[in-house]
């Protein structure tokens, strides 16, 4: 009997020593999530003249780049409606060349004039509250610890972008004209 007790005790100790299993959903960093959202946004947007082409879809980051290698890692080898994705980084507003999606970080929001991104065929994604009022198309926001977004429908229309209703229904706020 003491032996059985010893075995039980040993088993108990082993159980204690066993480290808690790592949670499957390891904390995803904010910018990993935002990178995934950028990719998913593009799935639900129709660019003017984008149907049927297999030309690469350009993701541009203007100004400060908060993603680091995350965006490249996430988008590597991915396609959107059979279009490969290229990533370009522009140090400032003057360096910007035509891109399908332009991301403006919170840090660069003030330094980048709206003419840079408020153009036909450009899906402008920002992360500040004022970004939509400045003519941006999509702005990230946090709801508790969840990443959400709002859409400026008027800006999308001006940019001749068609956002799918599947995307719009998830927007926390859809801004119409003049806000």
């Amino acid at each position: 009997v003491p032996r059985a007790l010893a075995v039980a005790l040993l088993a108990f100790l082993v159980c204690l020593a066993e480290p808690a299993p790592a949670r499957a959903e390891t904390a995803v960093s904010e910018y990993e999530l935002k990178a995934a959202f950028l990719y998913n946004f593009a799935k639900f947007v129709e660019w003017p003249g984008g149907a049927g082409t297999s030309a690469p879809l350009c993701f541009g980051i203007v100004g400060h780049d908060p993603f680091g290698p995350t965006l490249d890692r996430l988008l590597a080898g991915k396609t959107i409606h059979d279009r490969p994705i290229t990533i370009r980084r522009f140090p400032d507003a003057d360096a910007v060349t035509p891109c399908d999606l332009l991301f403006v970080s919170a840090q660069s929001a003030d330094a980048i004039p709206r003419e840079t991104y408020s153009r036909p065929g450009v899906l402008a994604v920002g992360e500040t509250d004022g970004f939509l009022a400045d003519g941006g198309a999509i702005a990230f926001s946090m709801e508790g610890n969840k990443l959400r977004f709002s859409v400026n429908a008027a800006a999308c229309e001006r940019a001749r972008l068609k956002l799918s209703s599947q995307l719009l229904k998830l927007a926390r706020r859809v801004v119409k004209e003049g806000e």
Binding site: A24, H81, R148, Q166
Partner: protein, 159 residues
């Protein structure tokens, strides 16, 4: 048997005729019931599968953007269909993402086995289980599962 043998031939003939007619009617009735059941099941399976596909299409963006509340809202549209008892969305890892249920919360026991990837539909215990994959841009991103009641069948056959 003796009583039967002693019957006049005329009565015997009548009896035999009655018996064969009765059996024919019973067989027809049986066939009719079987047909009704088969048609009902097929229709219910097809309707539910269609609804699962529609829900799957409409819920894909909510899955991609990790918005369970929006997925639950989409599922709640199933309330328009009285036969449907409940529905659930599972993510690509088989974890439950969103849930909707026509009766009290948690009543229909949507079994974990329909969280599998392969599209299935099975009948059991008065319910129909239908599971369909959710695909976005060619990638499997989750599963939609619906439980429908077979109570309508009883109503149709009895009422």
């Amino acid at each position: 048997v003796t009583a039967l043998r002693d019957l006049p031939i005329r009565r015997k003939l009548t009896l035999v005729n009655l018996l064969t007619s009765g059996m024919a009617v019973a067989l027809v009735c049986l066939a009719f019931f079987a047909y009704e059941i088969a048609v009902f099941r097929r229709d219910l399976r097809e309707q539910t599968a269609t609804q699962a596909n529609v829900i799957g299409y409409n819920v894909a963006s909510a899955l991609l953007f990790n918005d369970p509340a929006a997925a639950a809202t989409t599922l709640a549209a199933l309330r328009a269909e009285p036969a449907i008892e409940g529905a659930a969305i599972y993510d690509e890892h088989g974890e439950r993402f969103a849930f909707w249920d026509a009766t009290a919360p948690g009543t229909p026991d949507i079994p974990e086995r329909i969280a599998r990837r392969d599209p299935t539909s099975t009948f059991g215990e008065g319910h129909l289980f239908v599971a369909r994959p959710i695909v976005a841009d060619g990638k499997h991103i989750g599963t939609v599962a619906i439980v429908a009641s077979l109570a309508g069948l009883r109503n149709r056959l009895v009422g």
